[in-house]
């Protein structure tokens, strides 16, 4: 009898696992592709390994290029405006964010510090060094700024979030290393995987218009949401192929209609959720054509609601109309 139950349980588990691995045949939203740029050879505005992007208060798009060790500034039609940085200024610029008063913050993944600039690229200051203590980093991959100007940083290899004032004074940190078992992640729609406040390589962060802090807990394949004091609010996702699941959650951005856009690196798509984490829609798949991606790492939304996807492996930015999304 016991054997019968055991084999039924095994069958059930394998069935669920099978379901999780088969990509559900969902009707994909037709991506409203507008324009792409960066991949073509050019002295002005060519991209090698674009990693992150953000739209500033004056409507410019700022992009970090980790390989070229630069920050590039474009208008919303992809027209090159200016660039700054070299091997002396950056070792590997990854995360980028802009405050409401127009200051640009960049995280340097290899040098383990945060740099602050004016919108024309004039250097103001930097803070941080390698380590595990307060104000120290092991690969700050991404950052975000709240309405008060405080800066939040994903400290990737320390598996935590650190919060600073706009001048770089340490305020607080939260989270520690904790990997969610893959099976538990896949089956979390049956049994909650728990592990709130634990991260496994948190790669991206963003502050919503409501002031909540969203973190891509990338290798736990989920998104966790916190208040500005680091108190856990909610989470969603889990490993998988179908809508609402992730295979390495990456860039986060917010639309004017309350939509939350999350880039899904290995699934090569962008997913749309509401603020509570309810899955709404998605677009994109693997490839080099417009509307296809090779590892989307960053997202940004402009004042019109149009969406910019950092298509890392295709060395380009793709712009999509936000009208239907």
């Amino acid at each position: 009898m016991k054997t019968k139950y055991r084999s039924m349980l095994s069958f059930f588990t394998f069935f669920l696992l099978f379901l999780s691995l088969v990509r559900c045949a969902e009707t994909k939203a037709i991506s409203d592709f507008v324009i792409s740029w960066g991949a073509e050879k050019s002295d002005r505005g060519q991209l090698d390994e674009p990693f992150d992007a953000v739209v500033g208060p004056k409507g410019h798009l700022y992009v970090t290029d980790a390989r070229q060790q630069k920050v590039l500034k474009f208008d919303t039609d992809g027209k090159f405006v200016l660039q700054w940085g070299d091997a002396k200024r950056f070792e590997k610029p990854t995360g980028i964010t802009v405050s409401e008063d127009g200051f640009v913050y960049v995280s340097d993944y290899d040098n383990d510090h945060i740099l602050k600039f004016k919108s024309d690229g004039t250097f103001i200051k930097q803070w941080g060094r390698s380590g595990e203590g307060e104000g120290e980093f092991d690969s700050p991959s991404s950052l975000a700024v709240d309405a008060a100007g405080n800066v939040y940083v994903t400290d990737l290899y320390n598996h935590r979030i650190q919060k600073f004032t706009s001048e770089g004074t340490f305020l607080l940190s939260w989270g520690k290393e904790g990997k969610v078992n893959n099976m538990r992640s896949v089956l979390n729609f049956i049994f909650d995987e728990g592990s709130e406040n634990l991260f496994y390589y948190p790669a991206k962060i963003a502050v919503s218009p409501k002031g909540e802090v969203y973190v891509s807990d990338s290798y736990n394949n989920r998104v966790q949401v916190f208040d500005q004091a680091g108190r856990f609010l909610r989470k969603w996702g889990g490993m998988g192929f179908w809508g609402g699941r992730f295979r390495v959650a990456s860039g986060i951005a917010f639309g004017p209609k309350g939509h939350v856009y999350i880039a899904d690196f290995y699934n090569n798509r962008v997913q749309i959720f509401n603020a509570e984490g309810k899955y709404l829609d998605q677009w994109g798949d693997e490839g080099t054509e417009p509307g296809q991606f090779e590892g989307p790492t960053g997202l940004a939304v402009d004042q019109d609601g149009d969406i910019y996807v950092v298509d890392w492996g295709n060395h380009r930015i793709q712009k999509f109309s936000g009208n239907k999304k």
Partner: protein
């Protein structure tokens, strides 16, 4: 007695033949200008950049190139310097990976 002598002589001759090969191999390890490490799971920048960073910090490592498609980390070594295998393995482990093979010199295509 004669047989024992002959065996010893044969052993000495074999050692003499093998010794240069062993020395050469050790020298290749010590003085190789390039080291390649096969690493599984190297497909996204979040982790590939981490591996690049950890390898870059090794004493003697001059230039790092991560071939994400092939899953190989190439390390160019400073002339006359040696990068220890245990340090290479540790750096790969610190980056969250396991070193599958460490090849001294350029890998065969």
């Amino acid at each position: 007695m004669e047989i024992e002598k002959r065996s010893r002589l044969l052993l000495v001759m074999m050692l003499m033949l093998i010794a240069p090969l062993l020395t050469q191999s050790a020298k290749a390890e010590e003085m190789s200008a390039e080291i390649s490490i096969r690493v599984d799971g190297l497909t996204c920048p979040f982790c590939a950049y981490g591996l690049e960073k950890k390898l870059k910090r090794l004493d003697g490592a001059e230039k790092i190139h991560i071939d994400i498609e092939k899953g190989i980390a190439h390390i160019q070594v400073v002339e006359g310097k040696k990068v220890e295998e245990k340090d290479l393995k540790q750096a790969v482990e610190d980056a969250g990976f396991t070193a599958k093979d460490i090849i001294y010199g350029r890998p065969q295509k």
